[in-house]
């Protein structure tokens, strides 16, 4: 009782704060058309984003604003910082009102940008994509998250968003431990398992992972992708064909993961560990390798004492990963033309190179401008994946709520309570239900 009333109070305070900030955001937003002839070009460009100023994105976009201001000295640029939660929760409501930004950052994917697109809250950008050449700059798997059909499913239909940067999952490794045991960076799956066997023989568990959150699912997806091609990804992620959960790709991948578990490549008590536990134990040097995403890069760069590096998952042509968040233009934006121009500036070499130097994985950057060796490695790895059109998105993307299903099913596999068949049954059932819900619901 005591606790619940306290929780209620906190919730009330939080919602009040949200409401207040939403109000002030709205009050500051009135854009364009203020003064001067109404038919003329608007005099204000309002930008909403939720990246911190210190992040690679924050610094790159500050550069973009600078360039934009130089080109349009008569336009006032209002850059308003939002929080991810605030935009995520309120976008659907705010964008139906009149105080909308001209261009805003939004999360990619069916459940987010896809919904706004399906509900007509953001503008199609297909013509602009052709006009500015975004469709050639952002080819293949990068543009998948930019396009949505009338149901809000990504991969086809009109362009609705433009990504600036990307992310991918690879293998971080502890160079000191590799040197200690005299091991080389593997380039094929066979070499990879040989390295892990070598560590295992010295009594070192080779891979850090975590079963209560995304890491184990991404490791599983890497192993599925080792046996898959683009048409499988199109089927699994975009529903272009039916996925057989007992087909070769998923069976081979899941069997491989079970094999890795039974061989002790990962610790057996990982089911309750969170991503943070994995990262911390890798940083401390307890494990020589960690399969995870580029979002760990900054953290490792500041926190890790041992020398470390990153390589792409050995042998894979496809990798978990995607474009980053999107620039979208609300349907009710008052300065859409200026907004499109701003988006184009964020894809210009100057801005993309700022992203590159800061480790922000630009979609159209030039790795040669990078001076930091680790950032260069990261970026060239990403470029090599892009060159092969190798982004395969994330395993939990296809249907809503699939994240928890993957976590629960793979916990069963890791704990040895489920065999490969039962795991695949569990994964397949939820997938089929979710897909049916999306397509017919």
């Amino acid at each position: 009782m005591k606790r619940s009333s306290r929780l209620g109070l906190v919730a009330a305070a939080a919602s009040l704060a949200l409401a207040l900030t939403a109000c002030s955001g709205g009050a500051a937003a009135p854009t364009a058309g203020s003064g001067g002839s109404a038919a003329d070009e608007p005099k204000t460009l309002t930008i909403w984003d939720y990246e911190s100023d210190e992040s690679a994105m924050g610094q790159a976009w500050a550069k973009a604003v600078e360039i934009f201001k130089a080109k349009h000295p008569d336009v006032t640029v209002k850059q308003e910082a939002q929080t991810f939660e605030q935009i995520q929760k309120n976008a659907k409501i705010v964008l139906t009102g009149d105080s909308v930004p001209d261009v805003m950052e939004y999360n990619k994917g069916n459940a987010t940008a896809g919904q706004l697109a399906a509900q007509g809250l953001i503008t199609p950008l297909t013509d602009a994509a052709k006009q500015y050449g975004w469709d050639t700059k952002l080819a293949g798997s990068l543009s998948t998250t930019a396009k949505y059909d009338d149901k809000g499913l990504m991969g086809s239909g009109e362009w609705y968003g433009v990504p600036n940067y990307g992310e991918f999952v690879g293998v971080y490794y502890n160079k000191d431990l590799f040197a200690k045991y005299n091991l080389q960076v593997p380039t094929t799956l066979a070499e990879f398992t040989a390295v892990m066997d070598a560590f295992k023989a010295k009594g070192v568990t080779p891979l850090a992972t975590a079963g209560a959150e995304y890491p184990l699912g991404q490791l599983w997806y890497e192993l599925v992708l080792a046996n898959a091609d683009r048409s499988f990804v199109d089927g699994y992620q975009l529903f272009k064909s039916d996925v057989d959960f007992h087909g070769t790709q998923l069976t081979a991948g899941t069997t491989a993961l079970q094999d890795w578990i039974s061989k002790g490549y990962i610790d057996k008590n990982v089911a309750a560990l969170k991503a943070e536990d994995m990262g911390v134990s890798f940083i401390k040097g307890k494990y020589p390798m960690m399969v995870s995403g580029s979002w760990w890069f900054g953290r490792l760069a500041t926190d890790m004492k041992a020398d470390w590096g990153m390589f792409t998952f050995p042998g894979n042509k496809l990798h978990p990963g995607s474009s980053g968040n999107l620039w979208v233009i609300p349907t009710k934006a008052k300065a859409p033309t200026l907004a499109k121009e701003f988006i184009d500036i964020t894809l210009s070499p100057e801005v993309q190179n700022v992203l590159a130097e800061k480790g922000g994985l630009p979609v159209a950057g030039d790795a040669s401008v990078i001076t930091d060796a680790k950032v260069k490695d990261l970026t060239t790895n990403f470029q090599s994946i892009l060159d092969q059109d190798g982004l395969a998105f994330y395993p939990d993307w296809p249907v809503p709520g699939y994240y928890d299903v993957i976590v629960a099913q793979l916990q069963g596999l890791a704990n040895g309570n489920k065999d490969v068949n039962a795991t695949l049954d569990g994964l397949g059932k939820a997938y089929a239900e979710g897909k049916d819900d999306l397509l017919n619901g």
Binding site: M1, A271, K274, P400, G401, N417
Partner: protein, 310 residues
């Protein structure tokens, strides 16, 4: 004002002038409880993804689906574990602790010591659940958690995976909940004991009653009303428990620590099945109302008996 009115009118009007004073309460009730409750029931009749997505009428279909949903039944079965961990065990421990603090330690070492100890037991209730949960996560961490480091140090080769093993996760969560919960009955019971006439104890002591006899014959009957209050509030809290499960296990491993509130949340926000989540919430509300009604009924009966007995 009423003195000038005729007696006949005055009788009718005794309660009417008070009505405006109810308005704030009624408004608050409607806005905070009535309207959301009604909307929740309404949503539970639809298939709906939330936001501006279309709502398709589904009748009682969501409830029919619930009957066949294994996760739903697991979550309600787990509510029984929650009641054990948040009501039964804390109440029993609380009774004993309160009696020991009040009757023994309080008298031996002075009320200061007793109130310091009482505050210590209550501390977990003051800590935000999120903070306590994170700390317990560290303690129970399978690889470098405090307990397992201790166990390995003592020579246990294969310490248990407290939150990761499906057989152990629920007992571990229950342990944390007992720790969180135990201070609440202690504080209530100690306050109740202040109210008990010390003469009863003195008389019993003169008659040669031991500590255990005094607990049974005086303490328990005297603080029965408080026991009902504790049982009621804790049972309601146990049925709708959310935060500890969210922080500790997210309903895992393998869905073994799923509870109704969290399952409803999962459907609302992660699966975007708003109608289905609303149906879970509605069922939970009904269960809570029924259980609370039963406890209140028992309390009323016990009070009646007590009055008749005297």
């Amino acid at each position: 004002m009423t003195t000038t009115q005729a007696p006949t009118r005055r009788r009718r009007a005794t309660w009417v002038p008070y009505l405006p004073y109810l308005i704030p309460g009624v408004i608050a009730f409607v806005v905070i409880i009535g309207y959301p409750l009604a909307m929740n029931v309404y949503y539970s009749l639809f298939r709906w993804k939330g936001g501006l997505a279309p709502m398709r009428f589904y009748g009682l279909g969501n409830y029919a689906d619930l009957l066949a949903d294994e996760a739903f039944w697991t979550s309600f079965r787990n509510s029984i574990s929650m009641i054990i961990a948040m009501v039964i065990i804390p109440t029993l421990i609380g009774l004993v602790l309160a009696a020991v603090l009040f009757d023994y330690l309080g008298r031996r070492f002075g009320p200061r010591v007793a109130s310091v100890l009482r505050a210590t037991y209550y501390l977990p209730q003051i800590l935000p659940v999120a903070v306590a949960g994170v700390v317990w996560n560290w303690i129970l961490n399978a690889q470098d958690g405090a307990i397992n480091v201790l166990l390995t140090g003592l020579g246990v080769a294969d310490p248990p995976d407290w939150l990761g093993n499906p057989d152990l996760a629920m007992p571990s969560v229950m342990l944390v909940l007992i720790w969180v919960q135990v201070g609440y009955p202690v504080v209530i019971f100690m306050a109740a004991l202040q109210r008990v006439d010390p003469e009863l104890y003195e008389a019993a002591e003169l008659d040669g009653a031991g500590w255990w006899d005094r607990l049974k014959a005086i303490t328990l009957p005297q603080i029965r009303p408080e026991t009902f209050v504790v049982a009621l509030t804790c049972t309601v809290a146990a049925l709708k428990v959310f935060a500890p499960v969210y922080v500790l296990t997210r309903g895992g491993p393998e869905g073994t620590t799923l509870v109704p509130s969290y399952y409803s949340f999962l459907n609302f926000f992660d699966k975007s099945k708003v109608g289905y989540g609303a149906a879970v919430a509605t069922v939970l509300t009904i269960v809570i109302i029924v259980v609370a009604g039963v406890i209140l009924g028992l309390q009323a009966r016990s009070e009646r008996r007590e009055r008749e007995g005297r």
